[in-house]
């Protein structure tokens, strides 16, 4: 909005969907990218500073909050903060107990981290789309995406780590032979081996991809709708008032989506790891 007088709607949207990328540009050298194309031209060896900064900040917030509680955790009457942390921990614990049948001390902390971290990153979506970028403009930063989960790098980063864990535990529990057997010997027995491999391979690979894309897609679309509503503010009084209500409604609905997406990511992670731990299929 702040710069909508000088931008067309397309440019406004493009502007909002561009990360603050730092990297080596073939023509301009080591610098922040000045637009989407420059960011693309930097290739793989560039970094989205905003995604990293906000996700680390929010992860730090999560760690700070829970570590503080863990340090002072007592079996006596809990304080408000401990109570809140315990509520989340119990919620995660319940889900892990319900979906995960194996014995692995990693799964519950992993689920807690995913749930709270993803939720916090999603929560950034409820901050008005222009507020933080506008403040950043004041100190000379021209691109800023404050919702790390609208950056596929963040969602795929997590999904890939989960995928690595799934592969690791599949091989550890079932052995390489068992794992390969699972990939090739079913559902059609050993005579349908190539077909089995294609089927099971796709099903295996679809796990991290769907995990990452579901979260990214939901949040990206949500952000997009916020941006579109924000454009309405520059379309005259009637559109602006409509936009106000639309934004309110969407924000309220979005509270549900961000929580749900964090929860889905968590539960699917637990389920995938449970499948990796199961010997008999």
């Amino acid at each position: 909005m702040a710069s909508s007088e000088t931008l067309t709607s397309t440019e406004y949207i493009r502007h909002h969907l561009t990360n603050l990328t730092f990297g080596y540009h073939p023509e301009h050298g080591l610098d922040f990218a000045h637009d989407m194309d420059e960011a693309a031209a930097m290739g793989f060896w560039a970094i989205n500073v905003d995604t990293m900064a906000f996700s680390l900040l929010l992860g730090g917030l999560f760690i700070w909050f829970f570590y503080g509680v863990a340090q002072r955790a007592t079996a006596g009457v809990p304080t408000g903060r401990q109570n809140f942390a315990e509520w989340i921990v119990e919620f995660i614990d319940e889900n892990v107990r319900g979906s995960f049948s194996g014995q692995n001390p990693l799964v519950a902390p992993l689920a807690l981290t995913i749930f709270v971290w993803v939720f916090l990153m999603n929560l950034m979506d409820l901050i008005p789309v222009d507020l933080v970028p506008w403040l950043a403009t004041l100190i000379g930063i021209h691109y800023l995406k404050i919702v790390p989960t609208t950056d596929p790098n963040a969602t795929f980063g997590m999904a890939l780590m989960v995928f690595i864990l799934v592969l690791y535990y599949s091989i550890k529990i079932k052995g390489i032979g068992g794992f390969l057997g699972e990939l090739t010997l079913q559902p059609f027995g050993k005579w349908g081996m190539p077909f089995n491999l294609v089927l099971e391979g796709i099903s295996l690979l679809s796990k991290p991809v769907s995990l990452a894309l579901r979260l990214f897609g939901n949040l990206y679309a949500g952000e997009m709708i916020f941006i579109l509503i924000a454009i309405m503010y520059s379309g005259g009084l009637v559109l602006a008032v409509t936009g106000l209500f639309a934004q309110l409604a969407w924000a309220i609905f979005h509270i549900l989506i961000i929580t749900l997406q964090a929860f889905i990511f968590t539960v699917l992670t637990i389920v995938y790891l449970d499948m990796a731990h199961q010997k008999h299929h």
């Binding site: 560039a46 989205n48 996700s55 001390p105 990693l106 981290t113 780590m161």
Partner: protein, 156 residues
């Protein structure tokens, strides 16, 4: 949607957060929760025990109270019995004492009567002797007839 180094950075950050949570966050909180669960269970059990003990105590207190009541009633009965006994004894004693006193008084009266009779007899004898002396002044020698007169006086 272009992938770059951020992907690796996010993976590392994620791994570090998970590691930290596993190492320093999850265990203490779950331990505290378990400890509290145990504490609450213990407290409930203790409350149950206390309740039971209270019931027992109440029953015992009631028993003791009943015993005490019975004892008290017995003591009162005994005391009443003893009191009536004492009263009876006192009555009897008083009666006996009265009788004794009456007897003593009677004896004393008898004694006095005898003494008076004796005195009277003595005086009558004396008077008789004196009278007889006067009458028989000349004829009778008191020394010769004294025994006779005495014997006579005794018959009075």
């Amino acid at each position: 949607m272009n992938f770059n180094l951020t992907l690796i950075g996010q993976m590392i950050a994620f791994a570090v957060f998970v590691w930290f949570t596993m190492k320093f966050v999850w265990a203490p909180i779950v331990k505290a929760l378990e400890a509290r669960k145990a504490k609450i269970a213990e407290g409930l059990a203790a409350a149950e025990r206390g309740h039971h003990e209270q019931e027992l105590g109440q029953k015992r207190a009631l028993e003791i109270l009943q015993q005490a009541k019975a004892q008290a009633a017995e003591i009162v009965n005994q005391a009443q019995k003893r009191a009536s006994e004492i009263v009876d004894e006192a009555k009897q004693e008083a009666r006996a004492e009265g009788a004794r006193l009456v007897a003593a008084a009677k004896a004393e009266i008898d004694q006095e009567t005898n003494r008076a009779r004796e005195n009277l007899r003595q005086r009558v004898a004396d008077l008789a002797v004196a009278a007889a002396e006067r009458i028989l002044q000349k004829e009778i020698d008191p020394k010769a007839h004294g025994t006779l007169v005495d014997a006579f006086a005794k018959q009075l």
